[in-house]
């Protein structure tokens, strides 16, 4: 749906292609808090030596406009020397220069940064024509009245000067195509055409009418067509149409604002903020008219028009280049705060002056001093009150959100709440129950939720993703509803208030994850140890032991097949076989110590062997349930160690061993009636026992009062 807008005259660029427009309005979330980052358009054309860059043309036109207005000021000063009426209002000069330089500079800037957006050209051309009209008045004054004949074309200048409604031209054009350089929709095409026709008609009527505009009413129009009185209605019709167009332009802005979101809403807000000057200007106009009288009111109206022109140009510049775009909410907020503050301070000053005047008598210097003192003292509290009142009145959501977040951060500082709750508080403060906070793990470049579950970086799909930053580093991501993108100030201020809590929570999540990793790696090491034992045990049984048995058999056969005359060797061979048997026994003991083969049959079988082999009676009660291999191994070695320890240090008469499964965990109990006093200190068997249990995520409890035996209680989760 491309359509050429009628508004820009002849532009060196063709209408923007669709793709670039999409790029123009697309919201780059990453850049949202970048503030001043402005993406530059790529150069439009390869430098082929003939073409001049559009930005150069734009800057030249802007400079021409400035030169023109400067010349105008100079001519006005010359006219003022000769006391020509309608000249020499020096206070108007800054207004004149600003009203031209603001759109000129902004327009040139937009052309050089956003060459495809025609608003830049509208502003530059607007500034140029405005400068021409404004400079034409003093030119005509000098040429016709101050030094008649000194300059050529005085009446032509007076004619140009009569075209003053050019003031409305560029703001009207901007109103239709702000901020992306296109009409709000193709439906607006006829309205735009109507506005163009109205403007053209007005200029045409002004150009060819018999009488030029003030102050050149008595200068003959060089191109007057001397139209018959019958077409006299054209002039009011043209004016009516232009005013109608202005209303339609305002309607276009309203339509845009109502369907705008995100960046566009902010852009519209900037324009609206500048437009606030219009009612202010009306007030200013009335005040001046009352104070200066009729004579000054023309100039006052001009000053107002000029100021509005400049303000709108600056607002358009901010909106289109997006430089400090996000400050609009704050700007409006501050304006309101300081407006309220100024009003209340003035009121206070007046009140105090009145009261003190009554008390101390009129004209006393004390009155002023007291009033100033009171106002100074009231400034700070009043300002914070005004801020809270403005926030509360105009932005309840932000006010409440910030209050909640600050209360939460205080609570965290006082230890009343956990930092990990920050996600829930954010969801609450932003009024988005589905908001989800993820903490960034810088080492793995991954993200984790508050429980430490690692998740992939969420994509910007049906929910928007905004990064949370602390000291310029990304510390997390917030997934939130897309509607929040339209409230970047809310999002930014609440996230800024939350950032410390987010950072604390993130660090805690990170530490917890690392701890879990360490625990996992310890469990892995222990598991590897068990596997190594199993392999070793197999090697001993299937390798060394088999060879010894084979050797024994060979010797035995040798012994049994000795010829009669060699029988004397029989006993020696017999004892050799016995020796081999002993070696096998030793080997089996070692292998069983490495890992009892009966662990394959379950914990109960292995513990039964252990109990049988123990040097003191062991009363065993063990579950027949099969448990995960490493749990069984851990349990076996724990009991083995505990029993060995008991026998070695406590000399008990009896040891009781229990192994039961309850509620998904294996509970081991080793109780002896020995001398007690066992300690878990470095190097003792009990220390290694603690390590084994904890590697399985279990707990170990030792009670060993001196003289009253030892009781070791272990719990290992076994998931059954």
């Amino acid at each position: 749906m491309q359509y050429r807008s009628w508004l820009w005259p002849v532009l060196p660029t063709s209408p923007p292609p669709l793709a670039s427009l999409v790029e123009e309005v697309s919201v780059d979330v990453e850049q949202r808090f970048g503030g001043s980052t402005v993406a530059r358009d790529p150069p439009l054309h390869e430098n082929d030596g003939v073409r001049i860059a559009p930005s150069v043309i734009a800057w030249c036109l802007a400079l021409a406009a400035l030169a023109m207005i400067a010349g105008g000021v100079l001519l006005d000063l010359i006219a003022a020397e000769q006391h020509v009426p309608d000249s020499g209002s020096a206070w108007l000069y800054p207004f004149l220069v600003t009203a031209v330089s603001a759109p000129a500079a902004v327009g040139a800037l937009i052309v050089s940064r956003r060459a495809r957006n025609p608003i830049g050209w509208i502003l530059v051309v607007g500034a140029l024509s405005l400068a021409a009209v404004l400079a034409a008045t003093p030119y005509a004054l000098v040429a016709l009245e101050a030094h008649p004949g000194s300059l050529p074309g005085g009446s032509w200048a007076a004619l140009v000067s009569s075209l003053w409604p050019v003031f409305f031209a560029w703001p009207l054009a901007v109103a239709f195509v702000f901020p992306d350089g296109r009409l709000p929709s193709p439906r607006w095409h006829p309205y735009a055409l109507f506005a163009a026709c109205a403007m053209t008609l007005l200029f045409a009527v002004l150009l060819v009418s018999d009488e030029l505009e003030s102050p050149f009413a008595d200068v003959p129009n060089p191109v007057s067509l001397r139209l018959p009185d019958a077409v006299g209605f054209l002039r009011p019709l043209a004016w009516l149409s232009v005013f109608g167009s202005l209303i339609v332009g305002a309607a276009a802005i309203r339509v845009r604002y109502r369907r705008s979101k995100g960046i566009e809403r902010l852009q519209m807000l900037w324009l609206a903020y500048a437009a606030l000057l219009i009612p202010l200007g009306v007030v200013w106009f009335l005040v001046l008219a009352l104070a200066v009288g009729d004579a000054g009111s023309d100039n006052a109206a001009l000053a107002f028009l000029l100021a509005m022109e400049a303000a709108v140009a600056i607002a358009v510049g901010v909106a289109v280049t997006r430089y400090r775009l996000y400050d609009i909410d704050r700007l409006i907020n501050r304006t309101l705060v300081y407006g309220v503050l100024t009003a209340s301070l003035g009121l206070l000053y007046a009140l105090v002056s009145l009261l003190a005047g009554v008390a101390a008598g009129r004209g006393s210097t004390w009155v002023t001093a007291v009033a100033v003192l009171v106002v100074a003292a009231a400034f700070r509290p009043l300002r914070s009150r005004a801020q809270a009142a403005v926030d509360w009145r105009f932005d309840r959501v932000r006010y409440e959100g910030l209050r909640r977040m600050r209360t939460f951060v205080d609570d965290v500082r006082e230890g009343r709440r956990e930092p990990e709750d920050v996600g829930a508080v954010l969801a609450d403060a932003l009024r988005d129950p589905g908001a989800e906070l993820l903490f960034r793990l810088p080492e793995s470049d991954a993200y984790a939720d508050r429980l430490g579950t690692v998740v992939a970086r969420p994509s910007d799909s049906e929910r928007a993703v905004t990064s949370v930053e602390h000291r310029g580093q990304e510390i997390g991501l917030l997934r939130h509803k897309r509607a929040l993108l339209d409230r970047p100030d809310l999002l930014r201020s609440v996230l800024a208030a939350a950032s410390l809590a987010v950072e604390i929570a993130r660090l805690r999540v990170e530490v917890r994850l690392q701890l879990a990793e360490v625990e996992e790696s310890r469990a892995r090491v222990v598991r590897a140890g068990y596997e190594e034992r199993r392999r070793l045990e197999r090697d001993l049984h299937d390798g060394a032991q088999q060879r010894l048995v084979t050797l024994g058999i060979v010797l035995r056969r040798l012994q049994r097949s000795l010829p009669r005359e060699a029988q004397i060797l029989g006993p020696a061979l017999g004892s050799a076989v016995d020796e081999v048997g002993e070696a096998i026994e030793d080997l089996r003991t070692i292998a069983a110590g490495v890992r009892p083969p009966r662990l394959d049959e379950g914990l109960a079988a292995a513990l039964a062997d252990l109990a049988r082999a123990a040097p003191v009676p062991v009363d065993l009660e063990a579950t027949d349930d099969r448990l995960p291999e490493e749990v069984e191994a851990a349990a076996y070695f724990v009991v083995c160690e505990a029993v060995t320890n008991a026998v070695k240090h406590g000399s008990p008469s009896q040891v009781r061993v229990e192994a039961t499964v309850t509620n998904g965990s294996l509970r081991l109990l080793v109780v002896d009636d020995g001398s007690g006093g066992a300690k878990v200190a470095g190097g003792t068997g009990l220390m290694g026992l603690t390590d084994r249990v904890e590697a399985q995520g279990g707990t170990l409890l030792i009670e060993s009062p001196v003289g009253a035996g030892t009781r070791i209680e272990v719990e290992i989760p076994c998931g059954s």
Partner: protein, 215 residues
């Protein structure tokens, strides 16, 4: 006896074969894995198969499973399983059916005992390694009937469980066969088992009893 041997370690296999041949038996086949064992048993219908527990391909309990198959498919072939270490899981089930023996490998060095066990198994009797018997006779919290036995009776019971005959027990404990018989009658009485003249039947009854009280 006509015997087949299944053992994956070649030297040990040859040693075993030598021992058995020295004793006058005929080793009709020597194989290295369970599949080959089943084939040669089917082919030769031997009196006895001597089988290693761990064999290729997995070195787990292939021998034990082959033993069960042989006992089921060829009831006339006795099976003597040799193991590197005690593993009672399947052994106790099989030993209760007779014609089955379970010994630790190094018992072979006690040649006469080994040959005696082979003979008993071939005759439909049983042989159980003393270490396995020890696990059966260890104090059981659930049943203290065994605690009522005198130490001598426990010794006799252990030897019975190993599968030995009265005569063998008498010889080993330096008692007369008569005394042993008295002990046996007393033990069976205390355990509530029927008195039987047949050694094998008696052993099976004892084993069944012990197994039931263990598991």
């Amino acid at each position: 006896m006509r015997i087949v041997i299944a053992e994956d370690t070649v030297l040990l296999r040859e040693g075993l074969a030598g021992l058995l041949e020295d004793a006058g038996h005929e080793v009709v086949a020597r194989v290295g894995d369970a599949g080959a064992l089943m084939a040669v048993v089917a082919e030769h219908e031997p009196d006895l198969a001597v089988v290693d527990v761990r064999m290729p391909p997995d070195y787990e309990d292939e021998g034990m499973r082959a033993a069960a198959d042989i006992r089921r498919d060829h009831p006339d072939t006795g099976v003597l399983v040799l193991s590197q270490h005690v593993e009672t899981r399947y052994a106790l089930e099989l030993v209760g059916t007779g014609g089955f023996g379970y010994l630790l490998k190094h018992r072979v060095l006690d040649v006469d005992d080994f040959l005696d066990a082979a003979r008993r198994v071939n005759e439909g009797g049983s042989a159980l390694d003393p270490e396995v018997v020890a696990t059966l006779l260890s104090p059981q919290p659930r049943d203290d009937t065994l605690g009522e036995l005198t130490p001598r009776e426990r010794e006799v019971l252990a030897l019975m469980a190993e599968g030995r005959t009265n005569a063998a027990i008498a010889k080993r404990l330096w008692l007369t066969e008569r005394t042993v018989e008295t002990h046996v009658r007393s033990i069976l009485g205390k355990l509530g088992l029927p008195v039987s003249g047949d050694d094998h039947r008696r052993v099976l009854a004892v084993l069944t009893y012990l197994r039931a009280s263990t598991v």
